[in-house]
């Protein structure tokens, strides 16, 4: 018998999810007669299937759901066949209830994605698939439902399967099968239908009973977060938890994180005895050979495969709060058994869950997904979510109300984290700066095309070098010839463009240089990101300001003219927005001040 399958049903509203699961339960004899009677009774009042019992009402367990005929929250059901046991989460289809859908998908290894054969792949189909993929689901079955309404048209089915395949490929889903069926009549749900003779694949149930959907797990070394310390008397000190990955046996060498001290497993304790070995998914109590200071939230891991520890992360975040995310606001973070204060320091971008593209964003609203930087009050032992859901998935809680406002997935630690070994070089940035006899800085010139950034950068560097300073200019156009040659001018590419330049500038400041960046850098969020990569005071945002009319009249490279003719797409100031700085460290008005005067003002501001 295969291990139990944990599956989530997703898809758009009215695609028939509740009806399908109701049908599966019914055909697998998981519905009792009195429950069916209750459904029949409720069907007369709320049903949508005429005189037939509306099987969706088996799942829509809340009064509000039956009244409105929609699913609001996840329903969890269990059923089993002689071949396999199933945990099922029936997720709501409305966009408004996406956080409930994520609740259902977070513990699933497999998704059944429903599509209405009449409507085809909808934005909500893509949204759910992307969320499922993000949460780590790699295998799906596409259930093309309501085939009876399109006369079991094979061409229609093939077209929908093809359209969905394109969506799935983009969402991290690696295994996909499409099945034409009708939840209403039951055809191809548990038995083949004569009307779909052209379909020779398995029924939905056949497929679910036999599909391999191993939960994702990259690293199978032993890891267990300590959930509870059991100390009934002075002779017994047990560390309780559920094994997140790998296996453990008495005598194994382990290390305790975040500290990293090493010891040995003495015993695995269960009531009325001991166990020799325990593995992923088991709740156990471990006793250690030596007395160690271990508390809730620590992680016990195989000594030869230590876990990472960090206090700054880049993460994917699904925002679930009714009020939008505010960057910099303190929250509580819960990662496995560890709770600590945490702050989102930056939103790198928002993901459009329908088309899969990233867009710059300064906030995340309810049900938005974004890539964020996050800082925690204390270092946390963790794993990347792709490697381990338990050690890499966290929630953010509102400090005041206690509400769950975000679900996050650690992508990687940010390298500023103080406890990473590679930073321990003997020559520091201070030594390098002293050797050059200067204060390294990043002078970030932002402004419209033609505002005078390159002119000022050029003059400024000449002045600095004349004074014996060590400098470098990173110019927007020049960098695009090399480092950023692969990037275009979409919003996503612009975000990446700035990110790379900020990182390069940071390395140069670290090396002791005064770096002048001359970049349009139109988005506030990206410039804030750049600022966040530097020590306080090392980054100066200089707004090179001139009215659009003057910039266009200057048009040093003839680009405004081309943009006006529609030959250049996404041209800042014409067809793409420029967000002026709200509080720049320095503002230069090149419409009224000469370039020389502007350079003087920059130099004055540095003293």
């Amino acid at each position: 018998m295969l291990p139990p399958l944990r599956l989530v049903l997703c898809g758009s509203v009215d695609d028939g999810k509740s009806t399908l699961i109701g049908r599966l339960l019914h055909e697998c004899q998981a519905v009792h007669e009195d429950q069916l009677q209750a459904v029949a009774q409720a069907s007369r009042r709320y049903g949508t299937q005429g005189s037939d019992p509306d099987l969706a009402l088996l799942m829509d367990g809340l009064m509000a759901e039956r009244e409105q005929g929609i699913t609001i929250d996840v329903a969890w059901r269990r059923f089993e066949t002689p071949r396999r046991a199933f945990f099922v989460a029936d997720a709501p289809g409305h966009e408004q209830y996406t956080r409930n859908m994520a609740t259902g998908a977070s513990t699933a290894d497999f998704a059944v994605v429903l599509v209405d054969a009449e409507k085809g792949v909808l934005p909500q189909t893509a949204r759910h698939s992307r969320i499922a993929g993000m949460l780590g689901i790699r295998h799906v079955v596409l259930a093309v439902n309501k085939m009876d309404r399109v006369g079991w048209d094979r061409t229609r089915f093939d077209a929908i399967a093809g359209a969905y395949r394109a969506v799935a490929e983009d969402t991290g889903i690696t295994g996909m099968r499409a099945i034409p069926l009708s939840a209403l009549t039951g055809e191809n749900v548990t038995r083949h239908g004569a009307r779909a003779g052209w379909y020779s694949g398995p029924t939905l149930l056949d497929h679910l009973e036999t599909v391999e959907a191993a939960p994702p797990g990259g690293n199978e070394s032993f890891r267990m977060p300590v959930q509870y310390v059991n100390r009934p008397h002075s002779d017994f000190r047990g560390y309780c938890g559920r094994i997140a990955s790998g296996a453990v046996a008495a005598g194994d060498r382990v290390r305790i994180f975040p500290g990293g001290t090493e010891t040995e497993i003495e015993r695995i304790v269960v009531r009325k005895g001991e166990r020799e070995r325990a593995e992923r998914g088991d709740s156990v109590t471990l006793m250690l050979r030596e007395e160690r200071d271990v508390s809730r939230g620590d992680v016990i891991a195989a000594a030869d495969a230590p876990v990472e520890v960090a206090d700054q992360f880049q993460a994917q975040l699904l925002w679930m709060g009714d009020a939008p995310l505010v960057v910099g606001r303190p929250h509580l973070l819960k990662l496995h058994a560890r709770e600590t204060g945490a702050t989102v320091t930056r939103i790198r971008h928002r993901l459009d869950v329908v088309d899969g593209r990233t867009r710059p964003a300064s906030t995340l609203g309810l049900n938005d997904i974004g890539s964020v930087n996050l800082e925690t009050d204390r270092p946390l032992p963790f794993a990347r979510y792709d490697e381990n859901r338990t050690l890499g998935g966290f929630v953010l809680l509102d400090r005041r109300t206690g509400a769950t406002v975000g679900a996050g997935m650690v992508r990687f630690p940010l390298m500023r984290a103080a406890n990473l070994r590679w930073q321990d070089f003997d020559v520091t940035r201070e030594t390098r700066a002293q050797a050059k006899g200067q204060r390294p800085r990043c002078l970030w010139l932002t402004g419209l095309p033609g505002s005078g950034k390159s002119t000022i950068a050029n003059l400024l560097e000449k002045r600095l070098v004349a004074e014996g300073r060590h400098t470098y200019v990173l110019d927007g156009d020049n960098v695009r010839h090399g480092l950023n040659r692969d990037l275009g001018f979409t919003e996503a590419d612009r975000v990446e463009n700035i990110r790379r330049v900020a990182e390069v500038a940071r390395l140069m400041v670290d090396a002791g240089l005064i770096v002048i960046v001359a970049f349009i850098s139109p988005y506030r969020a990206e410039r804030e990101f750049a600022r966040g990569r530097f020590e306080p005071g090392d980054f100066r945002e200089i707004f090179v300001d001139a009215p659009l009319g003057i910039c266009e009249a200057r048009d040093p490279k003839g680009l405004y003219a081309r943009a006006r003719r529609g030959e250049v797409k996404n041209f800042t100031g014409i067809s793409s927005p420029y967000e002026p700085p709200e509080g720049p460290d320095l503002r230069l008005d090149t419409g009224t001040e000469s370039p020389e005067r502007c350079v003087e003002r920059v130099l004055e501001s540095l003293d």
Binding site: G61, L62, P232, T390
Partner: protein, 307 residues
Amino acid sequence: MTAGTTPPDRGPILGTLESEAIEILREGVATAERPVMLYSIGKDSSVLLHLARKAFWPAAVPFPLLHIDTTWKFREMIAFRDRTAAELGLDLRVHTNEEGLRSGINPFDHGSAHYTDVMKTEALRQALDAGRHDIIFGGARRDEERSRAKERVFSLRTAGHRWEPRAQRPEIWNLYNTRLRPGESLRVSPLSNWTETDVWRYVAAEGIPVVPLYFASKRPVVEREGGLVLVDDERMRLRPGEEPAIRRVRFRTLGCYPLTAGIESEAGTVEAILAETLAANRSERQGRRIDHDGEAPMERRKREGYF
């Protein structure tokens, strides 16, 4: 009464369910200030108690057990409760709504809905307020009833013990949010993902003692609205024409005896019960009169504070 001596193969599902339930119990205790377990004496409570003993062994169960006694429970239940508490050295607390008792509220004169509101829901709220409990474990399962299928494992109750089904906290992964504001509490259901069959399989595999009423035996009953109601003591009011008869019956679920119907059965062992459960075409709560009070009785009760 104990199940057979050789534990049958537990299969992959019981191990998973057991580990999950233990994780939930430990999480609740680790984050609670005043945890308590609602002990209803039934099979689910017996399984939950067994899991709690496993989760914290060799320590004693680190929370008290609370029984809401309506004074109309089956006599065998009360005997089993007191025996279990004494044998296992449990901190058992029994609460009855004394005001309801003084007013003479009973299942015959006041209708099952009103009686349940006063002697169960109201009594539970009194006891929880008095104990200022923040984490309240119970044996509820999602397969019991459709509104329970919608409920979180850690389910938030407002200061008035109300459940707000439309404002449930998202419960992502196995990360349980235990933050509470003053007066709020959490109803925690470690058996959320268990089915009736799982419970019986686990009872058999672990040899967990359960109340003898679950096993078929000859008992005096009257037939009422299609069910068999036990004449458990002299307070039972017989309706005109009702004559107690001895029949071989057992109970799939246990509550207040006048409101809980049994079924005719030959199942005298856990194995026989399992066979019967697997073949059953009626749900266990079908024998609960209180589940048939109106259109969505369970959801309504839960909103008001019932477990």
